[in-house]
Every structure is written in C-alpha cells, then in structure tokens.
Symmetry: C3
C-alpha cells in the first residue's frame, strides 16, 4: 500500500480512541495482521482469539479493545477503542478515499448526454460516458468511463457505475448501488418459441430493478424480464461473472459468490447465501436464509434455512457422509466379492 499517515491524522479518523505509548515514527505506512506486521505498520486485534499475538507483534500501532490487559513495547503505540474492527473499517474507508479518490465531480468533456436526460446535482460522468434519452440520474451519482446508461433508466443518489458498465434501457438502480466494471444490466432474456422447427426469440418487454445498497461484481450479467421485472433486493451483494436470468427475484441481504448461475423466474427469499459456481434451474423457490455450497446444482425448491451441497443437492451432512462412503466403494465391492463370491 502506498500511503503514509501521521498519528495526528489517525486520531482525526478515530477520535474516540485512547493513546498509550509512543513511537519515534512520524508516519505509518501499512496495515497488516498482528503476526505479519513490521515496524512502521498499523495492526489490530479484531477477534479476541488472537490476543496472544499482540505481545509479539512488531506493529508500531495496534488498535485494541479498551479492556485489553497488556502494555505496549517501547516505541509502540496502543490505540484503545470500543470496537477495533469498526475502527479498522473507518481507517480503511479513509484510506480508500485517499488511494482511490472518486473522479472529480464533473461531466467529462468527451461524455455524451442526451439533451432530455435529467441530472441532479453533483453527478460525475467519465470520459466517453453515454447517457440516453429521458434518463434520470440522482445526486452524486458517478458514471464511469465508457459506461452506457440507456434511455429512460433511473439511478438513485450516490450510486456508482464503474468503467464500462452497460445499464440498458428502462432499468432502475436504487441508492448507494455499486456496479463493478463491465457489468451488464438489462440484456435480453434467453427464451425462445419453437416455430416450424426453429427457435424464435420471445421479446422481453420488462426491466431490471436493483434496490438500494446492492453491489454487483465485474462482468456479471442480469437479464431483463419478459413482462414485469427482474429484481435484486436491498443490500444483496453479488460477486463477479454471475449470471441472473430473466424474471429472477433475489431477496434482501443475499450473498451470491462468483460464477453462480440462476435460471429464469427463480426466486430467492431474504438472506440466501450461495457459494461460487453453484447453479439453479428455473422457476424455483429458495427459502429464507438457505445456504448453498459452491458448485451445487439446485433443481428443486429449497426450504428456509436448509444447507445443501452437491448435484443433485443433498443436505450438507448427508452429502459429506456420502462423499466419505464413496471413497470406500472400492473396499466395499472387494469385501462383497470376497464374502459372497464374484458373479
């Protein structure tokens, strides 16, 4: 990391912390775990189970809970605070803003805005950004370089489109949404009628609605609905290269890891967690808080709270047990042959 921060500046970021000890360093320049930190680094005790590592840590500054009982080494600073994990998060947010400053709030001279587009105050549009007819862009929205915002799109306040995002016509984004580079929202759904032996496209007239606080990973694709909408619920976080088909509905607060595929019209209730590369057939209901292991193949409805694995998917414990028994198949066949004779 290429940052330097003084103790004064750090105290500005973490005003409710108490300083114990002192350091000759004027500036501190890395964040690292307790056991990897070197002199000059900042570290933290986030999880109490690592408290034994504090004593031997070389970090120059350590963020600690108020009740930590040890004392800093010579030349080391303890910063005591209510919640060191939150403290770390605040520090990281501060540094993120330093290292990855948002682009200047301005419309880049190369950007193209349709004259009917409505932009609230503080909107940024990067180089070669395109904003279509009757698009409505909320306050402080950032549209990155090479982004396409289609006709009649609606984007809520403080939402960020990273470079190369394609938000196609009529789609809607809520507030504080983050779309990573290369995301495609609103592509045509995959549905065809058979007419005289050939496949004819079913027009997709609907849209995609992405609710507040959703984050979507690079090059992920979400298709628009046949008639109504494909919807991603508030606070859901989607990783890179995920495929979400037409008419899918994802609940609030779901976590969907990279390369997952969700076929058309499947519905997730709130809080569903899906491991990477899992796949879902269409028209399924996945119950609240269900957990699906990576690479699982889901072809039936899933009950709330279930934890499934494998293809066909089974309850996690059963799947684990069967995996163990499968390894014993050679032995079982051998015992069987020895006991009962070969056929």
């Amino acid at each position: 990391m290429d940052f330097k921060i003084t103790l004064e500046c750090l105290m500005g970021v973490l005003p409710d912390s108490l300083v114990e000890g002192s350091s000759k360093n004027k500036e501190f320049k890395g964040i690292s775990s307790l056991n990897k930190a070197v002199q000059g680094d900042i570290s933290f005790l986030g999880n109490p189970k690592y408290k034994n590592l504090v004593q031997s840590s070389k970090a120059s500054i350590i963020l600690l809970p108020k009740n930590y009982s040890g004392k800093p080494e010579d030349g080391q600073i303890f910063l005591r605070m209510k919640d060191p994990s939150r403290g770390l998060a605040s520090l990281c947010s501060f540094l993120e803003n330093e290292l990855f400053p948002p682009p200047e709030k301005a419309i880049h001279p190369t950007a193209w805005l349709d004259e009917t587009a409505k932009l609230e105050k503080g909107v940024t549009v990067g180089a070669f950004g395109f904003i279509g007819r009757d698009a409505c862009i909320g306050e402080n929205v950032s549209v990155g370089t090479h982004c396409h915002v289609g006709d009649q799109c609606v984007i809520g306040n403080n939402t960020i489109l990273n470079p190369g995002v394609k938000l196609l016509s009529r789609c809607e984004l809520g507030k504080n949404v983050i779309l990573n580079a290369g995301v495609v929202i609103g592509s045509e759904g995959y549905g065809f009628d058979q007419v005289d032996g050939s496949h004819h496209k079913i027009p997709h007239l609907g849209k995609v609605v992405v609710e507040d606080n959703v984050e979507i990973g690079a090059n992920t694709c979400i298709d628009r609905a046949r008639f109504e909408e494909t919807r991603i619920g508030s606070g859901t976080k989607i990783d890179n290269l995920v495929q979400i088909g037409h008419n899918v509905r994802i609940g609030d607060g779901c976590l969907i890891v990279a390369q997952v595929g969700i076929s058309g019209s499947t519905e997730f209730e709130d809080g569903v967690i899906v491991g990477g590369q899992a796949g879902f057939a269409g028209h399924l209901k996945i119950g609240k808080g269900a957990k699906i292991a990576g690479q699982a193949g889901i072809t039936k409805d899933v009950e709330a709270g279930a934890f499934l694995k494998g293809n066909p998917a089974l309850p996690f414990q059963l799947a684990q047990r069967i995996s163990i028994l499968q390894k014993k198949l050679p032995e079982l066949f051998k015992r069987f042959d020895e006991t009962l004779g070969k056929e």
Copy 2:
C-alpha cells in the same frame, strides 16, 4: 410494463382476430398470465391445459383459440384467433418496438469510422462506436454505443450489436444476428507450445464465422481459430457468459444455456441442447439432437439423440438411478456391516 394500448391498436396488430364482448377501458396496459392478471390487463390461453383458468381470470382482454367454448364476463373482451401464442408473439414484438425503439438510423457524431469502411444504407452506429479498416457493414445493421468492429470484419443485413460488443478483426456475422452487450468475438485461442519449459503462444490466424439468425448472450466469448474458422451454425441461440474455444464448430439450431464452456475443436451437430454450466473437453463430436444436462462434464464423444447428465456424464436415466442409490449408501454400508460383520 409502461405501455398503453387501445383496442383499435391491438386489432391493428392482430387483424385476423374476432372480438367478443366489450370493456369500458379505453386503454389496456399490462400482459399477464390468466391467474395473475388484474383489471386492465391483457392475458392469453397459450396452452390448452390452462383453459380452466380463463373463467376466473380478471384480465380485460384474453387472447383465445377460436374453438374455446366459454363466454366473456361483463366488461371483458375475448379475442379469438387461430393461434393465441403467435398472437401474443406479434403483440410482444409490436410492444418491444414501442418500449425499446431501435436507435435512430444515423451515425452518431462521436462515432469513428475508418475511411475505408463500407457501409450499406440504413446503418446505425451509436456513440463512441468504432468501425475499422475495410469493414463491410450490411443494410440496416445497428452497431451500438462503445462497440468495436475490427478491420476487415463483415456484417450481414439487419444484424444488431448491442452496447460494448467487441467484434475483432476479420470475423464475420451473418444476417439477423443479435449480439448482446459485452460479447467478445474473435479473441485469441488458448493454445501454447512448451519451449524450454515455458509456455509460448501459438498464433491464431483464423477467424470466427457466425451464421444467420444466431443470438449470443451478454459477455459471452468466442475465440478465433488457429488456421481456419470457429463457426456458429444458423439459428443457434447462445446465452450469457458462455465460453467457446478456438476451432469449435456448432451446428444449426443449437441451444446453449448460460456459463457453458466448450473447449477447442469440439464439434456439435445440429439441434444439440446444453444446460447451464455444462463443460466439454476439446476435440469431441456431439451428435445431432443430443441433450446435455446442466453442469454435466463431457469428456467423450456423444451419440446423436443421447441425453446425458453428471460428471462423468452418464445416460440420464442411469444417472438419476445412481443418484437415488447414492443416497442409500449409508444404509447399505450399515446393512452390510450388520449382516457380515465389520472388518
């Protein structure tokens, strides 16, 4: 959906239909299934097995086959026609054109066309579109915003490149092709020679040829061939995030669902259907009309008409039977131990 349509307009779209009943509504504004439709909506009886739902449907207009025996409710209109599914398709195509009007036929002032590119009449090039040297663009082709059409590419009439498509040098698209946003056609094939322990790129001198009426989903990638061509047969429909390797040949009328991966030099005959996330090793032949279930792993040639599932892939019925027996493995091991004694 944000459309309104009058009965007169609807009759214009479906001129061969017979009106029965009447409605006070001047305009109709949604399309919905029989049991979800509300007053003001249009619905349809596409599959005769749902005919019992017609009587209780709240839809204001219902598209029905001529021989449907019931009568409309008060304030409800039946539109009788030969084939309500086709009628619905016609209506949807009409509405698609209203809701997602094609961009104005024009070269956007920000687009860049090489002076040697040849454009037939009616070509659209969107904002920041790029057309390379000696490219030949057919009539009424639409090249979206931020698209790249490489040197010496050939594009047939009425083909549509959605925003951000990268059609790389020397590739060819037929007529009525649709490439969704972010598609990459003509990237380098993945092939390396081992020279003195390191991997050396094998140049890929070939191209990609996409035949007429093919549709390709968002962010899908198709690599160019080593010498000759990677080819996608006429009428084949490919979903989002699919990977198609160098020298692959896909037959006519195939359906390839999202996130499928097809390794180099594999050939599909016509009418092959592949479920999402299935994978194919290289240099295979997949016979006519074969069906491959989602997430299957295909490492051997597949006979025409086969239906395979799993990895390693097995005939569908056998794979299903084995899945059921696997669930009984704990019981089998237990019975075995009880009967024959533990080892």
Copy 3:
C-alpha cells in the same frame, strides 16, 4: 485464411531450411494438417508419429525434419529444417503480423490522455482509449479502443491491451503481457462485514500485479487485494471468463483454463495446471506442479505434483475407479438384495 505467400518470402521467414523439389504455384495460401491439405497449401510434420501421412499429402509445401527419408511428389516442395514445429511457429508469427497487423503506432485523435500520464516512445492508444492521472506506460505498449487505464497504473514495455480492457487504478502490468478484450483488472474484492445484520463493504486498498509474459483471456476478472496485492506470476496463461479473487497469488508458468474460479487468498505455487470450470475455496495452498481436472471442486490444500478430480476432489486414479464403481451400484444393490434379502 486470407493470405498468399511466395516461396521466396517463405524462405525469408525460414532462412535455414533446404528446398527439395519444385512447384508450378507462384503463391501458397493455406496451412493445414497433412491429411487435410489441398493443392496450394503448406503443411508440416511436427510429430514423427504422423510421418506416414506425408507420402499421401496433397500439400504443395511440407515442412519436414532434415532426416525424413521420403522424396517429394512431382510439383511438391519439401522444406527440410532442424525443427519443423518451430519453423511452423515462425511462419505463423509472420502471418499473424500480416493478417492482424498491430494498429499504427499513434495516439488516436479521439483518445483521452490525462496531462500527467507518462508515455514512453512507441505507445499506441486506440480510439476512445482513456489514460488516467500519473499512469506510466512503457515503450511500444498498445492500448486498444475503449480501454481504460486508471490513475497511477504502471504498464511494462511491449504489453498489449486489447479492446475494452479495464485496468483500474494503481494496478501494474509487466512486460510482454497480453490482456484480451473485456478483461477487468483491479475490481473490488468481494468481502463484507456483518454489522447489525447487514453486509458492509470491506474497502479494498490493495492492487493487482501482473508479471511479465502473462496472457489473460477475454472477460476474465481479477480483483484487487484488501491491503497488499493480488499477484499473477510470470509466464502464467489464463483463459477466458476466469474469476480470480482478492489477495490470490498465482505462481509462475501456471495454466488456468476457461471459467475457473479461485476464491480470495488462495495461493498457487509454480506450474499448476487447472482444467476448465474448476473451483477453489479461499485461503488454500496449491502445491507446485499440481494438476486439477476440469470442474473439480478444491476445498483443501493440494500437495505438490498431485493430480485431482471431482468434487470433493480425489486423486485422479481413485476418482476414476469410483466413477466406474458408481455405475455398478444398481447391480450391487440388486446382488445385495438377492443374497441377503430385502429389508
């Protein structure tokens, strides 16, 4: 292939070869395998096991090892050389440059370069290319159309960014790197803290470092690290649509086939080979030279030199054996029932 080459020109490309025989053809225009070549084509004997095909080949020119014992047909030319495979590679590189000439070394008039960006000599920036603040671009680098090179990026000499690549802020590319179209480097890592029941983004302050001679396939995504760096080792070749999470470290000379997913903080030693669609959980160590079959699911550390298959992954031979036994499960259950009676 749309090229023509004279014998003189070919001898210029392969100066150490010996000509035997003669042809009436003034120009030669295709490269094909021995058994598929037609008159006018160039072919080659790369692998001695195909030497029986030379005699019946219709190719007009055949690249052969010096010690090949046969004689050319009438009108056929043998070009004898030390290593025909290398000869073919030289010819292909020559033709690649003819068929896919690099763009003219120039900054396209539509490109946007921040005034603080530092470009060495011979840099190409294509149409609508964007170069951000304080970016450092090495000699002869080619930045394609619609590429984004973020603030403070560093790019080594002779590296190529194909159209639509997004290289986000602070990331670094070595020398002779090739990024295919649509690649995203430096997107935010997928990591969230649970705060009061909702997911809060963990800022990712690190970068991505891609070492020399790495090639990365179309639409592949590599996330930046939480604090330090995600790193791709020298000479590693990555295929299309691959997902590489934050803090992953890939060793030198690895091969990673299409649609593989690697979760955060997993480390590959040198020379690891991974088949398509395989998936890796986070925080794993994959030993030197390990081979992972396509679609495998890796959830534990892998020893150097291991060859694994399946999910859960097993040693290849054992996985193959179990696959065979699984097919016999119906028979086993039947024998069991017959011998011991049904329950």
